[in-house]
């Protein structure tokens, strides 16, 4: 075939092999990055607005309660005023909901360019059982993305996420690490989360082996090259238990009850217990689950293994880093972000100097 006969198709193939494609992709990415960042901050603003609405709605509901009480006393003029207030707030909510809607849909388009895994297959019903991706989730993904070249260079054979929930963090990583199609693992103590993780992996066309397990208790020692964990990190003073754990008692008709003596919340429904387990970090600065992993780290990580751990400032990361140092691990904070009342951060933990 002579040069002049090269068809469009052939040209396209050449283009795919062509190094200029890399350059072009880089250029495009640098074009998109400011847009994405801009959008990101807009979405954050809107989220703040949404929180504001929530607060307003709370006030509203207490106003309504007051009104109902007063109405019972037949005070109708005040009720009218409250009704007007209610309508005003309602229209505000509608406007802001619309804004939120358009901003999140445009973010969705852009995030597809950035290859955040899609998780639109998960519904609000799923989130009655599984931790819904939130700021902590996205910070962890951002941390991994930021560290991608060093992760690629270290060539992890087995990558495992503890507590994968919806599965978007491990799916994101499996998507980013394009040279590798196997060796991605997810464990979660919540069976529903395991199924969600599997569905997310399939929806994103990646292989993630999913195991329903408490931590890595049934995994062979020293196998994990790259470990990831967004743990239940919220400090909670009380412990948690299902009703089955205790003698049946009269109060069990309620969904939940609080036993002052034992300082324990008893929950009737196992799924609800699982949801609470997805965020409640217990006492000790919310480190009950975190400390379990740290204590087992020497058994979990393969030689030269690396661990990315998401924390909040309340967990006292300096204390955690000192503890890690005492058993021979280096750690650096690679990213942090302040959101609402939470100051989130990600530690990168490793034995040898990289």
């Amino acid at each position: 075939m002579s040069d002049s006969e090269i068809s469009d198709e052939d040209n396209t193939e050449n283009f795919i092999e062509n190094p200029t494609r890399e350059l072009l992709a880089e250029g495009l990415l640098s074009l998109f990055t400011p847009i994405v960042e801009n959008l990101d901050s807009k979405v954050k603003q809107t989220v703040l607005v949404q929180l504001n609405i929530n607060a307003q709605l709370d006030i509203l509901s207490s106003v309504i309660k007051d009104q109902i009480n007063k109405q019972n006393k037949q005070d109708t003029s005040e009720f009218d005023i409250a009704l007007r207030n209610l309508n005003a707030i309602k229209s505000k909510v509608t406007v802001i909901t619309n804004v939120l809607h358009s901003s999140s849909s445009s973010k969705f388009i852009v995030s597809n360019i950035m290859e955040t895994p899609s998780y639109s297959h998960l519904t609000s019903n799923d989130y009655n059982h599984v931790y819904e991706p939130a700021e902590d989730t996205f910070l962890l993904i951002d941390a991994l993305e930021q560290d991608l070249s060093s992760i690629q260079a270290s060539k992890p054979l087995l990558t495992l996420e503890i507590g994968s929930g919806s599965g978007i963090v491990i799916s994101a990583l499996a998507k980013y690490l394009t040279h590798q199609t196997h060796g991605f693992y997810a464990v979660d103590i919540n069976n529903y989360a395991c199924n969600a993780t599997k569905r997310t992996a399939i929806a994103n066309n990646v292989n993630v082996e999913t195991i329903n397990m408490d931590m890595l208790t049934a995994f062979k020692y020293n196998s994990i090259d790259l470990l990831i964990f967004n743990p239940p990190y919220v400090p909670t003073s009380t412990s948690l238990s299902t009703c089955e754990d205790k003698e049946p008692r009269a109060t069990v008709e309620q969904e939940k009850f609080y036993d002052i003596e034992a300082d324990t919340i008893f929950v009737k429904d196992n799924q609800e217990k699982m949801l609470i387990k997805s965020w409640a970090g217990g006492d000790d600065d919310g480190c009950q689950v975190i400390n379990r992993v740290l204590g087992e780290l020497d058994n979990i990580l393969a030689p030269n293994g690396v661990f990315y751990l998401l924390l909040i400032k309340d967990n006292n990361p300096e204390k955690i880093r000192k503890r890690l140092k005492s058993f021979g691990y280096n750690s650096i904070q690679i990213i942090d972000r302040k959101i609402r009342g939470e100051h989130l951060l990600v530690l990168k933990i490793f034995k040898n100097l990289l």
Partner: protein, 124 residues
Amino acid sequence: MKLLTYNFLTSKCIKKVKVGYPLKLNIMEQKVESTNFNPEFIQRVLPRLDWSAIKIAADSVGCQGFPDEINLETSTNDTELLQKLHHLLLEIEVVTGSLICPETNRIFPITNGIPNMLLNEDEV
């Protein structure tokens, strides 16, 4: 559950269990999904395989021709063996079945491809 995963699972977490490895494997439903052969991945995974578990896995799915012992030095260049391992470890998905503790016979069910390795509080 892929059979590579089977290589990494133990029942050592059960109270009084000494080794808990290799688990017995009972397959009720399986499917085969072909994926691209990446020899480097298999080469790198080789030293982490426990050959006693690999033999059990191969027997359970009727894959033949695996040696009784593995010689790491010669195996890395044995393309035929690497390809066989690729098929056994990465292409066969156990959809339904169970893993069984070799010492206590505690059953860990596999449903929808997900092994359930959870234990009750009184078992740990």
